[in-house]
């Protein structure tokens, strides 16, 4: 049994940079690399792609990420655990095998299935968010349960180089290899809590090395243009040391670790995953060297009886239009333009919004009342079940060129389809996972 394992995190969302994972794998001396690429909506979007073409529905960057990564993983004997399977891990595995064949590489991929529970949803289930039946939100397009370690562990017990999952709780991607290597008892909730804390700190990749933290005035971070992604040395007792590859940009500090520990955590004493209800309140950080933070003190209580299921639904279309005004009376002209659009089409939309970018688009009027910028960009958005009506927003804004206030320039228009996501809870024993093995 190992006393220590090293896990890197080379992506924290579907659109993350590609090269940090390559650097981690080449220079990080990793046992495991995790790529966390699925958000709530990402999987609903992937499900829609799969409906249109059954050979798609895995992460759109899978092929580009694996192109450079696959040879490095095999060369350095690093196992990859990733949720890039998204809505279609089986097709994703085929894509990896094709890539391996092209490169003349032999690879084994274990696919984790079971998160897709769409067929078992009646539509009458009540949402956690609004306590309303699912069917009242609109046409349902996807339902994916958050699987945990119990779904990933059987895949780790094979000799697969790559473990490809769909919807899995982010910290479970990290906790599973710890349990696998240290033979932890899954009912030891203190250890499950400790491992979950470490997974939670790592799962957003660059957010623990200075990304989403940096402020050149109050929290400066060096070399952000080549931000390194993190790895963690996990010890058999559940402590961890978070660090990064020497020479990469960014910094790992106690301040940053505190921010990330609380990130997206609704209740720090009760952080629910499929594996444990973890308690973050007594987590302790210690700086033991440059860019080396020791983590201890996490714990946990029990395992939830239910799993969260993200349900995607058709939520219509959002249309947007933008146009800029500058110089004398810029804000007055922008407001006049907003009023014109409001009077012409505002009544056509379920939701309609006017923003003044550069002045009040992010935090409303109250906090920005003293600002007087040189230029203002008017942004109008409206939501409608009808794509043509949504498109009208941008058309009307564009028509301000010749029909609106003086000096309006740089009009742009957009329409996009909206997929909403709500959640339900499902008895965990009704959700069965399985693995399948493929090799090139």
């Amino acid at each position: 049994m190992k006393e220590k394992i090293r896990i890197g995190c080379g992506a924290g969302f579907s659109g993350d940079r590609i090269e940090p994972a390559l650097i981690l794998t080449e220079k990080g001396n990793l046992d495991y690399l995790v790529l966390e690429c699925l958000a709530e909506r990402t999987i609903a979007l992937a499900q829609k792609r799969k409906q249109q073409d059954p050979n798609t529905g895995f992460d759109v960057l899978l092929e580009r990420r694996m192109e450079g990564l696959l040879p490095l993983l095999l060369h350095h004997n690093t196992r990859l655990i990733t949720n890039m399977g998204a809505a279609n891990p089986l097709a994703g595995a085929q894509k990896i095998l094709e890539l391996a064949a092209r490169k003349g590489l032999k690879v084994k991929v274990a696919v984790v299935l079971g998160d897709d529970v769409f067929d078992s949803i009646s539509g009458n289930e009540l949402s956690m968010e609004g306590n309303k039946p699912l069917h009242s939100y609109g046409q349902l397009v996807s339902a994916n349960a958050y699987l945990g370690i119990d779904a990933i562990l059987p895949a780790l017990k094979t000799d697969a180089h790559i473990i490809l999952t769909g919807r899995v709780a982010d910290p479970s991607l990290f906790l599973a290899p710890m349990i696998h290597e240290f033979k932890w008892d899954e009912d030891d909730f203190k250890l499950m809590g400790k491992g979950t804390v470490i997974g939670h700190l790592l799962e957003c990749a660059g957010q623990i090395t200075g990304g989403y933290f940096a402020d050149p005035v109050s929290k400066p971070i060096p070399n952000m243009h080549e931000l390194g992604h993190p790895f963690v040395d996990v010890f058999w007792d559940g402590t961890g040391i978070i660090s990064k590859v020497d020479g990469t940009g960014g910094a790992i500090s106690i301040q940053n670790s505190k921010e990330q520990l609380l990130y997206e955590v609704i209740d720090p004493g009760n952080y629910f995953t499929p594996d444990v209800i973890a308690d973050f309140q007594k987590v302790h950080f210690e700086e033991i060297g440059t860019d080396q933070i020791k983590v201890s003190g996490g714990t946990g209580k029990t395992r939830p009886e239910t799993l969260k299921v993200s349900v995607g639904f058709q939520a219509g279309f959002i249309g947007e239009g933008e146009i800029s005004y500058a110089g004398a009376n810029a804000s007055e002209r922008a407001r006049l333009a907003g009023e014109i659009i409001q009077k012409r089409i505002g009544h056509l939309y379920q939701e309609f919004r006017i923003d003044y970018i550069g002045m009040s688009s992010l935090h409303g009027e109250k906090l920005s009342s003293h600002s007087n910028p040189y230029e203002i960009r008017l942004r109008i958005s409206g939501k409608s079940p009808d794509k043509t009506v949504a498109g009208l927003v941008g058309e009307e804004v564009e028509a301000l060129y010749t029909n609106g206030p003086a000096g309006g320039g740089g009009a742009r228009k957009y329409v996009h389809e909206v997929l909403g996501v709500v959640s339900i809870l499902k008895n965990r024993y009704e959700i069965k996972s399985e693995i399948r093995l493929f090799e090139s």
């Binding site: 709530e40 909506r41 609903a44 968010e129 989403y212 933290f213 402020d215 109050s218 929290k219 301040q255 505190k258 921010e259 990330q260 520990l261 609380l262 990130y263 997206e264 955590v265 609704i266 209740d267 720090p268 004493g269 309140q281 007594k282 987590v283 302790h284 003190g297 939520a315 959002i318 939701e351 309609f352 919004r353 923003d355 970018i357 688009s361 992010l362 935090h363 409303g364 009027e365 109250k366 906090l367 942004r379 958005s381 409206g382 939501k383 909206v418 997929l419 909403g420 996501v421 709500v422 959640s423």
Partner: protein, 109 residues
């Protein structure tokens, strides 16, 4: 004398559906008690009234020397369907840090 929170603390915003989560962490740990005393859930609710429509729960974390505000009904429906420019609410950490506090009982700096 009034000071902005930005001068003594930092914050990160996170979202879960329509719930906004804001941390508040002093640059100097000795300012933690001052923040606990001054930055109550009620004051944050008033400060962010344009944004947060629901209840705010404050979690005080003495071991970490950090405070967290969990704000319900705060993101115009949430990232997937909101019309807002910043649908995640990622920039709202800096809205919290705009809040002014009275420095009579004074933080360290």
């Amino acid at each position: 004398m009034k000071k902005k929170l930005a001068e003594i603390a930092h914050s990160r915003a996170g979202d879960k559906g329509n719930t906004l989560i804001l941390s508040l962490i002093p640059f100097q740990e000795e300012d933690f008690d001052f923040l606990v005393k001054e930055v109550t859930a009620a004051k944050v609710k008033t400060h962010l009234s344009h944004q947060v429509k629901g209840e705010i729960t404050r979690y005080v974390l003495p071991e970490l020397k950090a405070i967290q505000f969990t704000c319900l009904d705060a993101l115009a429906g949430g990232v997937t369907t909101s019309l807002a420019m910043d649908a995640h609410g990622k920039s709202l950490s800096y809205a919290l840090l705009e809040m002014e506090v009275e420095l009579d009982s004074g933080p360290s700096q």
